[in-house]
Assembly symmetry: C2
Homo-oligomer: 432 residues x 2
C-alpha cells in the first residue's frame, strides 16, 4: 500500500508516489524531489548500490509520475521535513513530455497559455493550497448551516423561461423548443420556502451570458445560496451571513493560516462580530469627507465601482474591519422581489469584502399582490408569472443571500478570477 508523504515514518520501509518536481541525475548519485497532494520528499539513490535502477532513472523527466519504495531516513541536509528516502524500487507510472508552459527565466507565462494547459498550471503549491482551502471553507459553511436545520437542495439549471431580467441568459436547444440556463437559483430557493422547506442552501453553477472586461466576472461560476423563512427583517439575514462567514473563516484559519502565510505571504484575518453596517448615503458622505470622492445625486442610489473599491479603506479606517454591510440602496437598483419598507426603500443589503461586493441579500416580498405590483413596475409581470404563482397558496416571510465561491476564493488569496477557478469560462474561453 502506498503512503501519503505526510504519513511516512522514520525508520520504516514505505511506498510513496507522486509527481517528480525536480531531478538531479549525476554520475554516481541521483536526487529526486517527489511531490504528492500532502507534502514533498527527497529520494536519494546511490547508483553504485542500485545498478538495477539506472535505466529507470534515465527515463524520468520533470513532471513524470513515479512510485518508490524504500527506507525512510533522517537527513540533516534535506530541508523537506528532515527526512529522505533511499529507494530500493522505483516504478515509472507515467513519463511526462516537457511542460509547454514553462516561461524563460525571469518571465511569467501569460494567463491564456496557462489556462490552455490548466492541469499543469494547477500543479503549483499555490494552486493546490487554494483549492484545499476553498473546499474546506465551503464544507465548513455547510457544517454551520446543517447544525441550524438547513437542508441542501438541488434546483434545476434548465429553465423554461428567461427569468430575472437584466443579466444575459444562455439559450439551449431543448428538443423541439428552447430552454435557458439559470442565472441564479433565486426563484427556486423561494419555491422551497413556499414548499415549507424553511431553511435551505444550495451550491451549484450559475450562468451569465455577458461580455465583460473585469477581473471579477466569468460566464459560469459556483454560487452558494441560501434562503430561510420566518425572519422578522433583513437584519436576520445579515446576522446569519456574518455568523456563517465568521465561522467558516475561523475554522479555515485554524487549519490553514500558517500554510497560507507561508505559501502566499497573506494574513488570513478572522473577522470580529458583528460586522459594521452603514447606510449607502452615509458611505458617500464619508467617502467625500475622508477621501474627497464625490458622486452626483443621481448616482447615490447604487454603489459605484470606484466607491466599492474605496469601501475597503473606509471600513478599515472607520471600523478596523475588512467587511462592510451597506444598506439603503434605491429600489431602482434592486430586484423587484426585494421587500420594501414603508418609505419604499428595499429591505436588503450588499456585503463588501476588501472592496469587492460578495453578496446581495434581502428580505423577499412574500405577499402576492404587492409582489405582482412590484414586478409590473419593472415591466416583468408576464415573464415571471410562473414565479408569482409560488406566493398564491401560502408562503412564509423569508429572506436570503448568495455568495460567489470563486469570488471568496479570489479575495482570500488576492488573485484574479481566472486564477481562482478550477477552470475559468469566459466569452472567449471554453477550453479545455
Amino acid at each position: 500500500m502506498r503512503t501519503m508523504i505526510k504519513n511516512i515514518k522514520l525508520g520504516e520501509v514505505n511506498e510513496v508516489a507522486g509527481f517528480v518536481e525536480n531531478i538531479r541525475n549525476k554520475k554516481t548519485m541521483c536526487f529526486i524531489v517527489l511531490k504528492d497532494q500532502s507534502s514533498k520528499l527527497q529520494l536519494t539513490i546511490e547508483k553504485e548500490k542500485h545498478p538495477d535502477l539506472i535505466d529507470t532513472l534515465d527515463k524520468i523527466t520533470i513532471d513524470s509520475v513515479i512510485s518508490a519504495k524504500g527506507l525512510i531516513m533522517e537527513s540533516e541536509y534535506v530541508k523537506l521535513n528532515g527526512m529522505e528516502m533511499y529507494p530500493d524500487e522505483i516504478k515509472i507510472e507515467s513519463v511526462a513530455e516537457p511542460s509547454p508552459i514553462v516561461a524563460p527565466k525571469g518571465e511569467e507565462t501569460n494567463i491564456d497559455l496557462r489556462l490552455d494547459y490548466r492541469w499543469i498550471d494547477l500543479r503549483t503549491d499555490k494552486n493546490l493550497l487554494m483549492f484545499k482551502v476553498q473546499s474546506y471553507f465551503i464544507n465548513k459553511a455547510r457544517e454551520f448551516l446543517n447544525e441550524r436545520d438547513f437542508i441542501e437542495i438541488h434546483t434545476p439549471k434548465l429553465i423554461g423561461a428567461e427569468s430575472e431580467s437584466g443579466a444575459g441568459v444562455f439559450k439551449v436547444d431543448y428538443f423541439d423548443r428552447n430552454a435557458y440556463l439559470a442565472q441564479s437559483p433565486q426563484f427556486y430557493k423561494q419555491m422551497a420556502m413556499a414548499a415549507g422547506f424553511e431553511r435551505i442552501y444550495e451550491s451549484g453553477p450559475v450562468f451569465r451570458a455577458e461580455k465583460f472586461a473585469s477581473r471579477k466576472h466569468a460566464t459560469e461560476f459556483t454560487g452558494f445560496d441560501l434562503e430561510f423563512s420566518y425572519i422578522k427583517s433583513y437584519k436576520d439575514v445579515m446576522k446569519m451571513e456574518e455568523e456563517m462567514l465568521e465561522y467558516a473563516l475561523r475554522k479555515t484559519s485554524e487549519k490553514y493560516k500558517d500554510e497560507i502565510k507561508k505559501v502566499y505571504d497573506i494574513d488570513l484575518v478572522v473577522p470580529t462580530l458583528p460586522f459594521p453596517v452603514m447606510d449607502l448615503h452615509d458611505v458617500y458622505d464619508e467617502l467625500e469627507k475622508r477621501y474627497g470622492y464625490k458622486v452626483s445625486e443621481s448616482e447615490k442610489g447604487d454603489l459605484t465601482t470606484e466607491g466599492e473599491r474605496l469601501v475597503a479603506k473606509l471600513s478599515k479606517d472607520m471600523f478596523n474591519h475588512e467587511f462592510l454591510f451597506i444598506t439603503g440602496y434605491s429600489k431602482e437598483n434592486r430586484a423587484f422581489y426585494h421587500m420594501r419598507d414603508e418609505k419604499g426603500v428595499p429591505c436588503g443589503y450588499d456585503l463588501i469584502w476588501k472592496g469587492c461586493e460578495i453578496t446581495t441579500g434581502a428580505q423577499r416580498e412574500h405577499r402576492y399582490e404587492i409582489l405582482k405590483a412590484q414586478a409590473k413596475e419593472k415591466g416583468l409581470d408576464e415573464d415571471v408569472k410562473f414565479y408569482l404563482d409560488f406566493f398564491k397558496y401560502g408562503c412564509p416571510p423569508h429572506g436570503g443571500f448568495g455568495i460567489g465561491v470563486d469570488r471568496i476564493t479570489m479575495l482570500i488569496f488576492n488573485e484574479g478570477i481566472k486564477d481562482s477557478m478550477f477552470l475559468f469560462r469566459g466569452p472567449d474561453r471554453l477550453n479545455p
Copy 2:
C-alpha cells in the same frame, strides 16, 4: 423570536409559525394544526376568551401561513407530542387560495398536475422527510471523503466540444459559437488527477439530451462523482465506494431510521461490508439456474434491463444483501477510457442496488498511447483530443465512480424519479 415547534417548552410562552395543515373553526372553539419544518402543534382557541382573534380566525384557510404566540400546555387529548398552545396572539403572514391539487376523496392526483404545482406537492410529510434525508446522506458522504483527504471541486458545465459520445448532449448558443452542456464531470475529474489533485469529488448537475420512457431517467439530475489517484486496481475503487455508502447509510439510519419507518413504512437497511461481488458471466449462470432467465451469448457482455431487475432477488438469495458489484463487462459496452486487463476485459464494475444500477466505476487508462488507441478503436480520437492531452505531461494511475443523488433517493424511498427530485426535468417538462 420564533421557536421551531420541536423546541417549544411546556409551561412557557412561545412564538411559533408555520403552515395551517388543518383548521376546525367552530362556534365556541377553534382548533388549528400548525406545521413547521420540525414538527406539528395544535393551537386551541376558546373564542369567548379571545373575541379579538375571531376576525383573524375567520380569514385563515388551509395552507395559510400564520404565527402565534401563547402558553404551551400539556394535553392528554392531543396526540401531537402531548402539547398544545393557547394563543393570545395570532398573525396571518400569508392567506392561501384553495389548493389546485387536492384530489377527490379516494383518488390520487396525477403526477403531472402535482409537478405543475410542485411547491404545494412538496409540503407533505413524506416529501419533507425525503429531502431532509437526501441532504443528510450527501453531507455524510462528503464527511467520509473529507476525512480521507478528498478535495471538493467545481468543474465547468459549459464545454467547448461534444464530449463522451453515446448519450445525447444539449447545445447552447454561446455568443458567436456553440457550447455544450456536460453529460458528466468525467473528463474534468480526470483533469484534476493530471493536476496532482489526488483525491477529489464533486456534486453538481449533469445533463442528458435523451428522450426516454423509464421511471429512472431525467434530462437533468444531480451527480455525485469522485476520482482518486495511486490505486493499484479497480478493486480499490469498489472498496472506497462500499465504505462510503455504508458510512452514509449507517449515519442516515442512526438519525432517520425510525422516522422513515413511521412515515414511509420502509426499513432502511445498513449494508454489511464487504459488498458481494460477482462476474457478469456468473450472474447470468445463476439467473438461468435459479430463475430460468436465459439470454443469448451476444447479450452476455452487458446486463439486460430484466437481468438488472432480477439481480435484486439474486443478491438477496445468494448473499442476503441489497447490493451487488458486477464485474467483467465486455469492452464493447464500456467507455474507451476504462483500463483493460491483459485479456482485454475492462477493469471496472457496475453497482446494483435493489435491482437498479446506481454506479459505473473503473480504473481509468492513464497511459497516453494506450488511451489514444482505445479512443481510436471507438472512432473518437479527434473528438477527445483535448482530453487525451491531459495524459501527455504526467498523470498518476487513478480511478473513480459516480452515483446519482436522485437515484439513491429514489431507492431509499421506493419512489419514481419524478417524485424523488426537488423539481423534475424531462423532454416535456421544463416548468415550473
